[in-house]
């Protein structure tokens, strides 16, 4: 619907509200402009190929993609159960799954230590029985990123499963499709866009993860020092490198927003 050519006076927005809104936009925009302005574009390529930066870039890619894969593998069944299975305590389980969304990541890291460190309730056995240690390893960084990324995937996919017209699944069943075939050939394609969106969100969150990672996995170059950790550490010693890496993260964020525009930006 196109706006009317001559809007009546009363629909004209109040000046004060618009003024405050402009301040808010500036508040978001100025730091980004500042970052762009401070970046030394000429040496950007050089800054990003320093050994620390390359290690951080590579590690961030590995960890965030792995965390996304884990989020999909575990999140899809979890979202399905939350959306489709009635069981006592379901609201509690959902709250538990969504907790990392609001939990300070450092607290998440401390909690992960309590569970998976060599003296944690699970980690103790992992180490004694299998010799597996998660803290201060890349696996630990992946675990920390999954912890914060998974809720984004679950919340997106669960909503899609709830919104989907389940009668399509009925129709598939009457045509002879068993539960797995119904899921694979009807449910999954119909919620496909949400699965992709959830995975992209989870990946973006994993890529930016700082607090839980540094707390649980530490800050070891080439092993657990992902981009955000590297930015933080090099900011004092090599600010150019830190800003270059920040620009990379900002660019990725912008790409994510643009790729999800149909989902977010198209809303009226």
């Amino acid at each position: 619907m196109s706006p009317p050519r001559n809007p009546p006076l009363r629909t004209r927005p109040p000046v004060l509200v618009v003024g405050v809104a402009v301040v808010a936009v500036a508040f978001f925009a100025l730091p980004l402009i500042g970052l762009m302005q401070r970046a030394s574009w000429a040496t950007l390529g050089h800054d990003l190929t320093t050994p620390e930066a390359r290690a951080a870039l590579r590690l961030s890619l590995v960890c965030s993609v792995s965390a996304t894969a884990l989020s999909v593998v575990f999140g899809l069944p979890l979202a399905w159960v939350l959306a489709r299975v009635r069981f006592p305590g379901r609201p509690f389980v959902r709250a538990l799954v969504l907790l990392p969304l609001v939990l300070p990541p450092v607290v998440g890291g401390v909690a992960l230590l309590a569970a998976f460190s060599r003296r944690g309730i699970v980690g103790e056995h992992l180490y004694d029985w299998f010799g597996i240690q998660l803290t201060f390893t890349t696996a630990g960084a992946i675990l920390a990123e999954t912890f914060v990324a998974l809720p984004f995937f679950v919340i997106t996919v669960e909503a899609a499963l709830r919104l989907m017209d389940r009668r399509y699944e009925d129709a598939a069943a009457t045509l002879g499709a068993g539960r797995w075939t119904v899921f694979r050939r009807v449910t999954l394609p119909m919620i496909g866009p949400a699965v992709v969106a959830g995975a992209v969100l989870a990946w973006a969150r994993a890529l930016g993860e700082f607090g839980a990672t540094i707390t649980f996995a530490g800050n070891i170059i080439g092993k657990t020092q992902t981009l955000p950790l590297a930015v933080y550490q090099t900011l004092d010693t090599r600010p150019d490198v830190a800003i270059a890496m920040s620009v990379v993260l900002l660019t990725v964020s912008l790409i994510v927003i643009v790729s999800l525009r149909d989902r977010w930006l198209a809303r009226p």
Binding site: A173, T174, G176, A177, P189, M190
Partner: protein, 351 residues
């Protein structure tokens, strides 16, 4: 006997108690007002809704018997459904939709597509094979849904208001083609509708379902000549009165009036009065009509080239007159008129 069902279930405020049996090749129309349980009955035949007690047998196989612990899920019943809004899978092409049932039943991709193409040609939408459901019309979607259901070669075909989503013009041609396909179908068919015309055009037999129970069943002719409930009477557009007969006089049950009939009867009876047998008069009538009542006009309905006049009074009736008569007599809402009915024009049958 292909299909027999004895179903009992409670779902929310609905209590469904139905017994029915359908022969191979037979089309049974399930008619009833909204909320009567028609769709629930269909869903339980398909296995999408469990029953509390009872037994459903299709082609000699028990598919549902809760007391014996038997419940065959929908995907293993020889049942196909055409849903009210068709529910074509939006992410698949028309061809893939029709091939879906065969693929799900383990047929290879190419043979399944070949069969699907055959069915699409048969229902007359072969040229749409590569289209997505969003790009085809309602009539085409209905034909595709029918092809998708028939392609699995079911023993029981369930049609849930298959024509209700179509506009009047499309409806006529789709109904005619549906009739043709049902004629060729060798399994049993249950057609849910609330349109008497659909039932008349497509079904061999009708079952009237009201508030979860069967209130009348029989051939179309039986049901239309001997309606037993107000719903059926409304559906076919006739007046139905209930009363207690003593010789040629019937005391009405729901109204303080009596009706004179032509033949001697005793006990509870139903009186069927066709609207065209009801004459209207501005003055107290003289003549041979034995029944005359004063009533007030509550409304008019145009039906073809006739006008149906609704009356309220000692005996609520619908009269059918010509538009010319409405003008000549100056009939208007709220006016008092005399209605007369000849005793010989009343069909009387036991209640």
């Amino acid at each position: 006997m292909t299909v027999s069902a004895d179903l009992h279930l409670e779902l929310g405020s609905l209590k469904l108690d139905v017994e029915l049996s359908i022969e191979p090749g037979e089309v049974v129309a399930l008619l009833g007002p909204n909320g009567a349980g028609k769709t629930t009955l269909l869903r339980s035949l398909a296995g999408l809704q469990g029953t509390d007690t009872g037994r459903v047998v299709i082609d000699g196989d028990v598919v549902d018997d809760p007391e014996a612990g038997i419940f065959i899920p929908p995907e293993r019943r020889p049942v196909a459904v055409v849903f009210q809004d068709y529910l074509l899978f939006p992410h698949l092409t028309v061809l893939e939709n029709v091939a879906f049932g065969l693929r799900a039943r383990g047929v290879g991709r190419e043979p399944a597509r070949a069969t699907a193409r055959l069915w699409l040609d048969r229902v007359g939408v072969g040229e749409l094979a590569a289209s997505k459901p969003a790009a085809i019309s309602g009539g085409q979607a209905q034909r595709t849904a029918l092809a998708r259901a028939l392609a699995t070669d079911p023993r029981l075909l369930l049609l849930d208001e298959p024509l209700s989503a179509l506009d009047a013009g499309t409806r006529i041609s789709v109904r005619r083609d549906l009739r043709r396909h049902l004629d060729h179908f060798t399994g049993a068919t249950v057609l849910v509708t609330h349109d008497a015309l659909d039932a008349l055009a497509l079904a061999d037999r009708v079952i009237i379902l009201e508030a979860g129970t069967v209130t009348q069943a029989g051939t179309i002719a039986e049901v239309t000549t001997r309606p037993r409930t107000d719903y059926v009477a409304d559906l076919i557009g006739v007046n139905l009165l209930r009363g207690e007969a003593t010789d040629t006089s019937v005391d009405l049950v729901d109204h303080r009036a009596h009706v004179i009939i032509a033949d001697v009867r005793r006990g509870p009876v139903l009186l069927l009065i066709h609207p065209h047998s009801v004459s209207l008069h501005r003055q107290p009538p003289e003549g041979s009509a034995r029944n005359q009542w004063l009533g007030e006009i509550t409304g008019f309905d145009l039906l073809g080239d006739r006008v149906r006049v609704r009356l309220d009074g000692d005996v609520p009736l619908v009269a059918e007159v010509t538009p010319a008569a409405v003008v000549a007599m100056g009939l208007a809402e709220g006016e008092a008129v005399w209605a007369t009915v000849k005793a010989t024009d009343i069909t009387v049958y036991p209640a």
